[in-house]
Structure formats: structure tokens, C-alpha cells
């Protein structure tokens, strides 16, 4: 039996009294590009953040390559893994954020090499080689010595993507990576992601760029009220929505086939 790269089973998450995720099940195979769409508050970002334990969750399981993330079980009780184990597990995935979150005190190059040296334990030369290759890939090699404050939003986001991917994650998580960008900078970032998708990178992305999700995804997931309301290939989800809620969402979005 071929195992899925990512398995999410019956995921539940509450913030105080609010149940944000109400039982999410999802399988992602190697090479899949899965877009998560839905209105704000539907739980898209929270779902993504449970995959790398930026959020604890209250019920359910997340497995990457068969390894349970964040928790283990003792006599049927869920126990949170030690932080050092969770830190190692987080490196299985890479994440790019809406607000880039580059380290402002480090140059573009050093943003990328930090994890390579400190987490993967590579020698400095080797780390620099890998970092330069990825910066080149996202078109930022000529800015390797710039600090984040000297880069545009789109450039910062491309460096942030390089920083995540250089760690060689099995799965990339993109959390609304173009939402904070000026409209004319959106495409340079989307093109980088498109390019990575073509290369077979497995990714899970929360996005408001409907056209992009339509073009790039193998599967699109529509989240509504903490559940996966509808899922399928983009041609079905966008063109022939089965539920009225999704039809309405697509109707109100900027998507035009």
C-alpha cells in the first residue's frame, strides 16, 4: 500500500470557545499541489499551521511520511512530544508566510544559510553553495548581500521561499504569500511558486488568487466553517461547484474561467 506523504485525520482545533477546525481529513501525495480556498475565518490558515505545529490541535492526527507530528500516544492518551522532537519535525515541512518574516538583521544569503548551518549542520561553504543555488532559482542571487529592508515585498517573499526550500522539506506550506504584496509584485512570487510546482514540489497553499489556484493545483479544497466543504480537481471546483455555498464563493470571487 502506497503511503500518502501527508495524512490529516479528523483534525479538531479550538480557540477558546470557538471551534475553528471541526474534523478535517485530507491526504496529500508526493507531487500534489493542493490549494485551500474559502472565506476568512473558515480555518484555512489554522489548518496549515497545524501541519507544522505552529498551532497545537486538540483532536486528530497529522502524519508526514507515516510519522505522527507533534504528539504521541501513551495508554490511549495523547502526549505532546518534546520541543526538540517537534523542532526536528518542523524541518520536514517548509513554510512561507503572508508577512515574509525574513530576519531583518541578516542579509538575504544569511537568511537562507542560517537553517542550513544550524539545523542541518552543513559546513559554511556547502550551505552558501546551496543557498546561492536557491537564491538564483528565485531570481535573487544578485541581491544576496542585501538586507530585507533594502528589498521590495516581492523580493523579500522570494528570499523567504528560498529560505524555506533550501532546507529540502518534503512539503511546502504557503500561507497567503501574496496577500501583503502590491498588485504589481504578486506575479513575480506566483511565478516562483508555479515554477516549483512544475518541478514536482509537493505543496499545500492557502490563497486568495483564484486564477492561480485554478492553473497550478492538482486539487482544490474549499473550506467552510472549519470543515472541507468541497474538494476536487480545479476544473470541477471552479467550473462545476456541487454545493450552493461554493458556487456563491466562486461567484463572489474574482475568478473567471
Amino acid at each position: 500500500m502506497a503511503e500518502h506523504l501527508l495524512v490529516i485525520e479528523n483534525l479538531h482545533k479550538t480557540f477558546g470557545a470557538t471551534e475553528v477546525l471541526r474534523g478535517v481529513d485530507l491526504n496529500v501525495d508526493s507531487g500534489d499541489v493542493v490549494s485551500i480556498i474559502g472565506s476568512s475565518g473558515s480555518g484555512k490558515t489554522t489548518l496549515l499551521r497545524c501541519v507544522n505545529m505552529l498551532e497545537d490541535y486538540h483532536e486528530g492526527r497529522v502524519l508526514i511520511d507515516g510519522e505522527e507530528i507533534g504528539y504521541t500516544r501513551h495508554d490511549g492518551k495523547r502526549v505532546r512530544l518534546p520541543n526538540s522532537t517537534i523542532a526536528r519535525q518542523r524541518a520536514l515541512t517548509g513554510m512561507a508566510f503572508q508577512t515574509f518574516n525574513l530576519f531583518p538583521h541578516l542579509t538575504a544569503l544569511k537568511n537562507v544559510t542560517l537553517g542550513l548551518v544550524k539545523v542541518r549542520g552543513l559546513a559554511k561553504d556547502e550551505a552558501v553553495g546551496i543557498a546561492r543555488r536557491w537564491l538564483d532559482r528565485v531570481g535573487m542571487l544578485d541581491r544576496q548581500d542585501h538586507y530585507p529592508s533594502q528589498l521590495s515585498g516581492g523580493q523579500q517573499q522570494r528570499v523567504a521561499i528560498a529560505r524555506a526550500i533550501a532546507m529540502n522539506p518534503k512539503l511546502m506550506l504557503f500561507d497567503e504569500v501574496t496577500s501583503a504584496l502590491d498588485p504589481e509584485l504578486v506575479n513575480e512570487v506566483l511565478n516562483v511558486i508555479r515554477d516549483l510546482a512544475r518541478d514536482g514540489m509537493t505543496m499545500l497553499l492557502v490563497t486568495h488568487e483564484m486564477r492561480f489556484a485554478y492553473d497550478v493545483s492538482t486539487t482544490v479544497i474549499f473550506m467552510h466553517e472549519g470543515r472541507i466543504h468541497e474538494a476536487g480537481p480545479p476544473s470541477e471546483v471552479f467550473i462545476r461547484p456541487r454545493t450552493p455555498r461554493l458556487a456563491e464563493f466562486i461567484q463572489n470571487s474574482s475568478f473567471r474561467a
Binding site: 505552529l54 513554510m95 508577512t99 525574513l102 530576519f103 539545523v119 529560505r163
Partner: protein, 219 residues
């Protein structure tokens, strides 16, 4: 006539002035270095400490910051000897200023760490850095750059605070000056000279701080 007399007296007391100057610099430098190191731990405890520890450290910081340095100097000299800890005046004085400095540095670091956007920690965690690594390579460097200007200010305050050690008999610049004045009665001239020397010390610290700030700028 008066100028030549002053210059003459100043020349005669150059050794005492120099010794006072060296003592002032030594007290300040020791207290700033020790106080900063201790202050970093205080700041870390204030942010990440286990609850009871955080409470105790908070108490320490508020108590020290709410007490005049003069009182701290007297207390570490007179009170500690009552409980059997015998410190020389120099040691007691350095201790008082160190403690004073640490509470300020601790509070600065706490503020700077708290002001760093949560996304920094998250980004560090997502590339697999442990908490310790995140702190050392991502948060602390940013916080230190952030507090640098305030820290330079605090350092100059420590130099000024070192004058208070004159009351417990440490022969720093102010006490040396007072002793010179008691011999020649040129109080105006020699207080002015001492003031000028303090100004030079603090001004140098500030210039040095500016220079470091420029060196460490991100852009």
C-alpha cells in the same frame, strides 16, 4: 594671575586627578560590563522565566529601579557588613552600580524582546531551529541592536552614578577633586575641571555607541 595659579595647582595635582580618573573609569567599566551581563539574564528571566522565578526577578527589578542609587551604595557598604559580608568600599560601590545597571538592562531587554514580531519566532521554528537557537540567532541579535541607544544612555548614567562612591570613601574622580580643593580652595576651578573630565568620558561613550550603531545598521 589666577589662571596661572590654577594651572600650577592642576599640574601639581595631576597625579591625584589621573588616579581619580582611572578609578572612575574602572568602577564604571566594571559596573557596566557586569551589570549588562547580569541584566541580560534578568531580561531573559523576565520574558521566559518559570513563573515563580519571573515573579522574583520582577520584584528585584522594580525594587532596584525604585530605589535611589545613593541608597543602594550606602546599603551595600553598610548593610552587607552587618550581615557579615565584608566588602571593601570599592567592591560595595561596584556591586551597587552593577545591581542598578542590571535592573535597567533587564527591563530594556524585556521590552525589546517583547516588541519583536511573533512572525520572527515562527519563521525560525519553521526552518527547524530549536527555542535556544531561535533565541540566540534570531531574537537576541535583534533585541540587542534595538536596545543599543538606550543602553549607551544607561552607560553614561553609570559613570555619573560612580560619583556617589565618594561618600563611602572610594577615591574616584569626585573625591580626588574634593581632596585637592580642600588643600588649595580653588573650588570653582577644580569642580569645573572634574565636570569637564566627566563630560569627556560620557561624550566618548556616546560617540563610541553611535559608531557601533552605524556599524550594526541593517541597511
Amino acid at each position: 594671575m589666577e589662571l596661572t595659579q590654577f594651572l600650577n595647582e592642576a599640574w601639581l595635582s595631576r597625579g591625584a586627578i589621573w588616579d581619580g580618573f582611572v578609578m572612575t573609569v574602572a568602577i564604571s567599566a566594571l559596573a557596566i560590563v557586569l551589570g549588562t551581563v547580569l541584566g541580560l539574564f534578568v531580561g531573559i528571566a523576565l520574558v521566559y522565566g518559570w513563573r515563580p522565578l519571573r515573579f522574583l526577578v520582577r520584584l528585584y527589578v522594580d525594587f532596584i529601579r525604585g530605589t535611589p542609587v545613593f541608597v543602594l551604595v550606602l546599603a551595600s557598604f553598610y548593610i552587607l557588613s552587618v550581615v557579615g559580608i565584608d566588602l571593601t568600599a570599592f567592591q560595595a560601590g561596584v556591586l551597587a552600580i552593577t545591581v542598578f545597571c542590571s535592573s535597567h538592562v533587564g527591563e530594556m531587554l524585556r521590552g525589546a524582546l517583547a516588541a519583536i514580531h511573533r512572525g520572527q519566532t515562527e519563521a525560525a521554528m519553521t526552518i527547524g531551529l530549536t527555542f535556544r537557537q531561535t533565541f540566540l540567532y534570531v531574537l537576541l541579535p535583534q533585541a540587542l541592536r534595538q536596545i543599543l541607544p538606550t543602553w549607551v544612555n544607561a552607560a553614561t548614567e553609570m559613570v555619573k552614578a560612580s560619583t556617589l562612591l565618594s561618600v563611602i570613601g572610594v577615591a574616584e574622580l569626585l573625591l580626588a577633586t574634593q581632596q585637592i580643593i580642600s588643600r588649595n580652595f580653588l573650588s570653582l576651578e577644580f569642580y569645573f575641571l572634574a565636570g569637564f573630565i566627566y563630560f569627556v568620558i560620557d561624550f566618548s561613550i556616546e560617540r563610541l555607541g553611535r559608531w557601533v550603531e552605524r556599524k550594526l545598521a541593517y541597511s
